[in-house]
Amino acid sequence: MNGLLNLLIGLAMGLNLVALGTSRLPSLIRVAALQGVVLGIMPLVIEQEFRGLLLVVAAATMAMKGLVIPALLRRAMRTANIDRDLYPLIGFVPSLLLGAAGMMGAVVLARRLPLLPEHHESLLVAGAMASVFTGLLLLIGRSKAISQVCGYLILENGIYLFGLLLIHSVPLLVEGGILLDLTVAVFVIGIIVDRIQRAFDTLDTRKLTVLRE
């Protein structure tokens, strides 16, 4: 079970690097969506049984992260009719190098943290930390509102990975609540993105500089 799980986590970590290296908005959205689907499969791999509620949560995660949210972002991108190129505040090569360094740091750090015996062989903690770091890097290093949302999604994916450590102890009700909250959060962000576009005629957050000290 750990082998397959680690394979999926490795895939998610690889997608982090792709997200940092891509220079086009549509491919960034695609990467975030694909990572979401990979994450959605994981609870089924961990539990290895197909209880009803678990299936529902996994399916909902995949549908939300893989279909609904990316569709929303693509729509925002299309209606806003924005330039598909990303203008990075932190260049692609530096971001990739930072991302790779962060990934290695995460693996080293995860080895040093006290873990339960059943998590010793798993990459969950390392993958979670690497994704959180990637998400923060994208949030800081990209200027388009939609690419920042993608950064936020990857940050969330990292937290979701960490949450899988607790899959046996967090009641599914709470898990469902968390999923719902995150989904609504992205919806709200999507709406605001739309309004910003209308108000400013741009989605470049570098233009949002009226309010400053």
């Binding site: 943290l113 006290p114 873990l115 339960l116 979670a128 959180v132 923060l136 949030l139 509102a145 920042q148 936020y152 940050l155 969330e156 990292g158 937290i159 960490f162 949450g163 450590l165 607790l166 046996h168 102890s169 967090v170 009641p171 709470v174 898990e175 609540g177 968390i178 909250d181 609504v184 959060a185 709200v188 962000i189 605001i192 309004r195 910003i196 108000a199 400013f200 957050t205 949002l208 009226v210 309010l211 000290e213």
Partner: protein, 480 residues
């Protein structure tokens, strides 16, 4: 089960308001729900429900010490909301009123949350509910503020989720069976895995500290408070921050029980002092009187953290200060809203002589200024004095001295802005003031009442509240 009504009543009112067809009468849902909520909250303050509480949600001593203050502030804001929304009749309030009501229900839930996950869900939901409130004015500036609020607040709240998971893992690693209620976590005490507890504490403090607006995670605050309508600013500064403070206190009690209380106190003290310092420095250069209130709020959040860091009497004083903060911030934001509306500007470069144009609001604003800068006989003076005294008594002399210097600087900064806009000759722009705006009783009475409550809290603190705060301190540090 009566305590669940605190959550249900506002949520039901929100649903009803969303379905209500008339824009003109919809705002009346606000005071109606506010009144019902206040009655319930004070009823429960008088007759607290007997322990044991439900594992996930309960009106425990901590909720009892905080929630009535928020309820009172909401009542004041909702009474002001009716005339305010009448002035803004051209904008539909179909989203605003339900979101405002839902925020109250969710804030109640967050105060009463006794489970790590439930606490996070409620806090996040409060954040999302306030988004439509922030951009009610629909100006580009409002959207810019909302975007920053979402991005900074969203990241903060995401980190607090990560922190919650880390705390959960600390329990799991220490042999826990996955009981994520605060009672369960505290009972596990030393059994919690220490490295994970420390990681969780840092993440949760950063996460909920963002919501509170502690420096350096306060960057969303001036924008949001500056652009939001007055009642929203008041609710954010006096209600949402209280929610986040409650969350920090609940987590800190677990960290305490795990034997890392010294680390927690030290970080709280450092971040509290840093917040007061940053706020004081920014206040010295503030020109916009609504943004000024945001920095004042950062300062007061710093004061709360310092009180919580000192512990014991200091923590008791922090509860006292929560009440004072809610009342004075309410009075200030509402009177600032009046001045803003009449003046048509917000910086000291555009506005002056408001004592001639809106004499009552200007007088209130000055009185509120004295209250918020802790001049006697207003409540904040007594709570801050108590915090300073207990800091000296527990050997935090240096911190207390720095704290007093910051308070003095903040006082200079605040008085500079307030007197610049109140005195002098009115500017041309203000003479062509908003023709619909009159200083009617409806927009003056709510801030006056809130200010009077702050006065009463200072001069004659009700024994009932004293007892409630003591009970809350005992809940958080059972050894004392």
């Amino acid at each position: 089960m009566k305590e669940l009504l605190l959550i249900l009543v506002p949520l039901v009112a929100a649903a009803a308001a969303a379905l209500w067809p008339h824009n003109r009468t919809r705002p009346w849902f606000l005071p109606a729900a506010g009144l019902a909520h206040a009655f319930l909250a004070f009823g429960l303050l008088l007759n607290p429900p007997a322990a044991p509480y439900h594992a996930w949600l309960g009106f425990d001593p901590l909720a009892r010490a905080m929630l009535p203050a928020v309820s009172l502030l909401f009542l004041g804001c909702s009474a002001y909301g009716v005339p305010y929304l009448r002035l803004r009749a051209e904008r539909s309030n179909r989203v605003f009123v339900p979101a405002f009501l839902a925020a109250l229900g969710l804030m109640s839930a967050a105060h009463m949350a006794r489970h790590l996950g439930v606490l996070w869900i409620a806090t996040e939901a409060v954040t999302l509910c306030s988004v439509p409130l922030l951009h009610f004015n629909n100006t580009p500036r409002a959207f810019e503020a909302t975007w920053k609020y979402l991005l900074v607040g969203g990241t903060g709240i995401a980190l607090s989720l990560l922190g919650s998971f880390c705390l959960g893992y600390a329990s799991l690693h220490g042999g826990g069976v996955g009981d994520l209620t605060f009672t369960g976590l505290m009972a596990q005490g030393q059994g919690l895995s220490r490295p994970w507890v420390l990681i969780a504490w840092v993440l949760l403090l950063v996460g909920y500290g963002t919501k509170m607006g502690l420096a350096p995670m306060h960057t969303w605050k001036p924008d949001a408070y500056g652009e939001a309508p007055g009642i929203v600013g008041a609710m954010l500064a006096g209600g949402v921050t209280t929610v986040a403070f409650t969350a920090v206190l609940r987590v800190r009690a677990v960290v305490d029980a795990a034997g890392a209380g010294v680390v927690a106190s030290r970080t709280l003290l450092a971040i509290g002092l840093f917040s007061t310092l940053v706020a004081a420095l920014f206040l010295l250069s503030a020109r916009d009187f609504k943004r000024m209130l945001a920095y004042s709020s950062v300062e007061h959040m710093g004061i709360l953290s310092i009180g919580a860091a000192v512990g014991g009497i200091g923590l008791w004083a922090a509860f006292f200060h929560v009440w004072n903060n809610s009342m004075t911030k309410g009075a200030l934001f509402l009177s600032a809203g009046n001045i803003r509306r009449a003046a048509g500007g917000r910086t000291i470069d555009e506005v002056s002589g408001m004592s001639l144009i809106t004499p009552r609001s200007a007088a209130l604003f000055v009185a509120g200024l004295f209250a918020v800068t802790a001049c006697p006989p207003f409540g904040p003076f007594f709570s801050e004095l108590l915090i300073v005294k207990s800091a000296f008594a527990t050997g935090h002399g240096l911190a207390a001295a720095l704290f007093l210097v910051c308070l003095l600087l903040a006082f200079f900064g605040l008085t500079r802005v307030v007197f610049a806009i109140v005195y002098g000759r009115p500017r041309q722009a203000a003479r062509e003031m908003d023709p619909r705006f009159r200083e009617t009783l409806a927009v003056i009475v709510p801030p006056v009442v809130l200010l009077l409550l702050s006065l009463v809290l200072g001069l004659a603190t009700p024994d009932l509240l004293r007892e409630a705060w003591t009970a809350a301190v005992q809940q958080l540090s059972p050894v004392l």
